[in-house]
């Protein structure tokens, strides 16, 4: 009989893991809380650093899941996990030979940094909002006009003790650069300013994109964190920061403020971890067995991790990890069969 593995979460990590397992003769079942498969990438427009449309990655994944008749339970949340299955909301028990947690992350709620005015002033948007606006094909200010000056603020909800998020979300630096270029392409007349604390361009092609943003798109980079945003009489937003490289306070009026919201640990991590006695890292993400060879294994046999459930990751890293997780699961199943 085919062995059955429950994958919690139907985002990129969950789907890629399922495909990996299916191709090796294991029967995966995906449980997705949302009514639709695809996870966070669904709302993304284009991907860094290549500007590949997100659908180009997601559609083949979804198509393969459908073609291979992989069972997907959507619209239902998982309440407890164990190495021999999961319990769904409502009490239904799904038995399995192993469980993969691919529950991803929660986006930081920018309203918690109210000094940036998200949800208070028009035209303060998050990076996720901007992707959706680009998806809808219309990026405009609230009054329908085009922005002339845009500020992009990095590290919103990352590396910030004041919102209890001390970790680096890793992908926002490059997202900030990507979105700056996209905005500049849409509004060639506009000035785009990126406000950063550190620019961390760790991935392949990232540094190059950063350089391109500076050189080919004339995007301004200001080293300083915006401390507050306030409304102006003409409807624009005034922001304050220190231009730390000149050591002087900086004030400017802008039409649009884009907040690079960070990745928080999934809100459900605590409950799920408690149900299976798993460890949660101090930043709330799930703790792997070890960060080197055990990145996709939980400390408990039979429970595996894939993707951003363990730490902020780019889509590329997530997909790579999904393949690794499938490998680890098959390896585990073979071992326990004997």
């Amino acid at each position: 009989m085919k062995r059955r593995v429950v994958i919690v979460g139907g985002g990129a990590a969950g789907m890629a893991t399922a495909l990996g397992l299916e191709s090796r003769g294991v029967e995966p079942v995906i449980v997705e809380r949302d009514t639709e498969m695809g996870g966070k990438v669904r709302n993304w427009h284009k991907l860094f650093p290549t500007f590949t449309p997100a659908s180009e990655i997601l559609d083949p994944l979804r198509r393969s899941i459908a073609e291979r008749n992989i069972e997907c339970r959507t619209g239902v949340a998982v309440e407890t996990v164990a190495s021999d299955g999961v319990t769904l909301a409502g009490g239904e028990r799904m038995a399995a030979d192993a469980v993969v947690m691919a529950t991803g992350f929660t986006l930081f709620d920018a309203r918690r940094k109210q000094e940036y005015g998200y949800g208070i002033y028009d035209n303060v948007v998050t990076s996720a909002d901007l992707e959706q606006m680009m998806n809808s094909g219309r990026v405009r200010l609230a009054d329908g006009s085009m922005p002339r000056r845009i500020a992009i603020l990095h590290c919103v909800g990352s590396r910030d003790e004041k919102v209890c998020q001390s970790h680096c979300s890793k992908v926002c630096c490059i997202t900030g650069v990507k979105q700056a270029i996209e905005l500049k392409k849409m509004f060639p007349e506009a000035d785009v300013f990126n406000f950063y604390m550190d620019i961390r361009m760790f991935g392949p092609g990232y540094e190059e994109l950063y350089r391109e943003a500076q050189q080919s798109y004339n995007i301004h980079f200001v080293r300083g964190r915006i401390s507050e945003a306030s409304p102006m009489i003409n409807g624009r937003i005034q922001i304050k920061a220190e231009d730390t490289l000149t050591g002087r306070p900086l004030k400017m009026s802008i039409d649009m403020l884009v907040l690079m919201v960070g990745m928080r640990a999934n809100d459900d991590n605590g409950l799920l971890a408690a149900s299976a006695s798993l460890d949660v890292a101090p930043n709330g993400f799930m703790q792997s067995r070890d960060p080197f060879t055990g990145a996709v294994r939980s400390p408990r046999e039979g429970i595996f991790y894939a993707g951003a459930v363990t730490a902020p990751k780019s889509l590329a890293d997530t997909l790579a990890e999904a393949a690794l997780a499938a490998d680890a699961v098959v390896d585990y199943l073979n071992r326990t069969q004997r």
Binding site: C155, D160, E161, M197, E228, A241, E242, T244, G247, P249
Partner: protein, 111 residues
């Protein structure tokens, strides 16, 4: 030494000379408040500063210079601080900035 009126003095070097700077006070400050080393220089404190909004006072610059052993004028600058505490509310590293302002004044002042 005779007193000759040269009409000029020897300009002090602009470079921060760690070798010749006396880091004793700086070390004392860091010992009392080790979290100051976690500053990543994002400038949030300076940007939100109530006093900095009204004058040239730059908190980040002052405490960075003090850490390097550049005490000249730091006490006077620090005295521009109103201790209102906004900076402590915005510091992403959770540094006790108000305590630091008082500590610098205490260490570099005359009391």
């Amino acid at each position: 030494m005779r007193s000759i009126r040269f009409g000029y003095g020897i300009s002090k070097p602009r470079a921060i000379d760690i070798d010749s700077n006396d880091l004793r006070k700086s070390n004392e400050i860091l010992r009392e408040m080790p979290e100051l080393q976690t500053c990543i220089g994002c400038g949030s404190c300076t940007a939100s500063c109530t006093a900095g909004n009204l004058t040239q006072f730059n908190f980040r610059r002052v405490h960075t210079l003090v850490r390097r052993g550049e005490y000249m004028g730091a006490y006077e600058e620090m005295n521009k601080c109103m201790l209102c505490g906004k900076c402590r509310l915005v510091c992403p590293r959770g540094i006790n900035t108000r305590g630091l302002a008082m500590l610098i004044k205490r260490k570099l002042g005359d009391f």
